[in-house]
Symmetry: C2
Subunit: 421 residues, 2 copies
């Protein structure tokens, strides 16, 4: 119906069925994190904009929900959890056993134009692993992310992970004498969405010479490790290649190699990442990234902590739901009601409530709250899918009895109330 008030743009209401399905998905994710020995944490939904700015720069303000300033604090709704978790880690950096393996499953907000797979309010699984600079930590995270999707019923036919290394990419750009790395990475990131002409145009804009442009084109088409000529690489790129090979080898040990493909053009935005980077897509890449992450060894120090390696990833719920629905794997959860208690009139209300209280120890029980006539009660009980109805009547009560109807078979029988449990 027409209502006077609407939910804000880019947000969702979760009615019981949607909520149940979502809870089931989150429960599956939590089970996997638990088996990997990750601990759930949570940070405030509102954060000091200074913290956010330290990671993402002042220009991120455009894409954030900023709060009206009341006291001294300039607060914003968090758009991701990494800065908050880094802040929390630093606060206890000395006392925490390394590696610290944390995850959170909570809400984020971005002020962006809502579109397919992108909302202003969404849930995100955020995973951070602090304290290990080894490829083992990256592989553990990627393996867990893949296990999220497998546990949700997806297979290698449904998704794959593009993997790269920022040192390798950066080293190649440096080697080619490309100075405006940030802008170049931006072009590489969006290259797939551009026509050939648009792409050439973009390269011209950043004034690359012919050889440099060729390097960029090669980067974009490179997706086999063997096509990289190691001899041509500088030290930084060699280091990156070695890290990449190590992660790939470990992922084979995890049995996850068939989900993972090298792709030299994966850059994942700006200056944040320092090593392994990855993004997960459905095969025709008709959806946005399902999850993405990588190594960020400089942030803890940059935020005022002691230098500390870190790696992690994030998976939003919007694209995930689209993919699961496409593949018929989004769970359908129906409400369960074990017993509906139907007093035939208000004289037996006391006994009806007592039966409800007793059965509620072990069952999901509804009782009439409308003082409806019996016929209406039975209609309602059927509409909510109650498995059994217990009809409480004066006559039966005299013998400590009530009538129970099995809604599946339609059969009725008398039961002793004192024997219910």
């Amino acid at each position: 119906m027409t209502t006077r008030y609407q939910k804000p743009k880019g947000t969702r209401d979760f009615y019981p069925e949607e909520m149940q399905a979502r809870k089931k998905v989150f429960e599956t994710i939590r089970e996997v994190t638990s088996k990997y020995g990750f601990s759930e944490v949570e940070a405030p939904a509102i954060e000091d904009f200074e913290l956010i700015k330290a990671k993402s720069g002042e220009e991120i303000r455009q894409q954030m929900f900023m709060l009206e300033k009341k006291g001294n604090e300039q607060l914003a709704l968090r758009a991701e959890l990494t800065p908050s978790l880094a802040r929390m880690f630093i606060e206890k950096q000395k006392e925490l056993q390394k590696p610290v393996k944390w995850f959170a499953l909570s809400r984020m907000w971005r002020y962006e134009a809502p579109q397919k797979g992108r909302l202003r309010e969404f849930y995100q699984t955020s995973v951070e692993l602090f304290g290990s600079d080894k490829a083992n930590a990256d592989a553990e995270c990627i393996s867990m992310a893949v296990d999220f999707l497998i546990s949700l019923g997806l297979t290698d036919k449904d998704f794959f992970v593009k993997i790269n290394n920022r040192k390798l990419l950066q080293g190649i750009l440096d080697g080619a004498g490309i100075k405006d790395v940030e802008e170049t990475l931006r072009i590489i990131d969006k290259a797939e969405k551009l026509t050939k002409e648009e792409f050439e145009q973009e390269l011209k804009k950043i004034k690359l010479n012919e050889k440099q442009a060729k390097t960029i084109k090669k980067i974009i088409t490179t997706n086999e490790l063997k096509t990289i000529d190691e001899e041509e690489l500088n030290e930084e790129a060699k280091q990156g290649l070695s890290e990449l090979k190590e992660v790939m080898k470990l992922l084979k040990h995890y049995g996850k190699d068939k989900y993972v493909r090298f792709n030299l053009s994966v850059a994942r935005g700006l200056s944040y990442y320092t090593g392994t980077v990855y993004e997960c897509f459905n095969h025709d890449e008709s959806l946005r990234a399902i999850f993405g992450g990588g190594r960020y060894d400089n942030m803890v120090e940059q935020f005022g902590g002691d230098k500390c390696a870190a790696t992690g990833f994030a998976m939003g719920d919007v694209t995930l739901q689209l993919l699961l629905e496409q593949k018929g794997k989004w769970p359908i959860q129906e409400k369960t009601v074990d017993y509906y208690i139907a007093p035939v009139n208000e004289n037996v209300r006391k006994e009806a409530i007592e039966i409800a209280c007793k059965l509620r120890k072990n069952n999901i029980v509804e009782i009439d709250l409308m003082q409806r006539k019996l016929g209406k009660q039975l209609e309602y009980a059927a509409s909510i899918g109650a498995k059994h109805i217990i009809i409480v009547g004066d006559e039966e009560l005299k013998n400590d009895e009530a009538i129970i109807r099995d809604m599946q078979t339609g059969k009725e029988k008398r039961i002793k109330i004192s024997e219910l449990n």
Copy 2:
């Protein structure tokens, strides 16, 4: 350690132990709601300020986190869930089976001075029951709220519920010719916190005559139903008294009468409530209300829906935690790690990972991610409380074996890797 960035005022970071305890508490609450046949829902954390204003008036802006206006929407962080759930209910009012029994367990924000039992960001269990104007619905909600606390380990020695009826209170005020009901209710609400002199002062401010002042004093000291002279009441007050008695009778059927006490001074704020109202406190009332709620039969219509009765309550996590901690009932949850897998060197990494993957099907498993020497690994495994360590060494592997150490007994033995599960 000193960090560069702080969490915002009045917010909390949840490290693993705190998070685990909180999850346990929330799980208990969810179990109870489920047994009562309530369904979990969720609404956006950000809401149109027009909606909030419609319920609470423009002046509520002071106490809200307002968002900087970017588009046409003036949004705010929700401070309670009732307006959002009423909006959601109205949107599907025609198709939903009545009664609609909803709850949510989610975050709220209030811009208030942080103090004991009050934070700027908190969790709240919000319960709403739409579609029944019967006392049965109020009693069902109160019984469930009491069952929340019982399930968390509290008893009637720890808390009690003050109950009243707004029609009764309003009728008495009307009967005494008191016009400024809103201000009078405000004074009644805070009377317990005032000295005798301050209280007299407040009464003078609203210009009550002597008889009216006497009425107010009587209201504040009335906490037994039998002291109310029904003959003296006007029709509205009589109706309220009758509703109140009905709820009390039903609560007796629920076995909850020993938790509930009549108290004529419970007003719960402004014009919102229309019938039953209640608030739960610890016995010396040293803490804020643990939960509070009541009937609000006008809001759905006021928000643009068809007229529809409604009742519900809310319970915040901050006071609840204080009370549970005081009573030694706040759960203590320790991290469980079933197995820690320790490769003796990188040559056996493959097999160590394979063992981890295998055991993770049914267990919580950590594996070295730091490439630490064995001694350091064993220290770490002990520090995280691992129940078993599996040491993976070259020699044992030749026989498909590894060494398992039971951390409780300290005993070691060899096991066949292929037999692990």
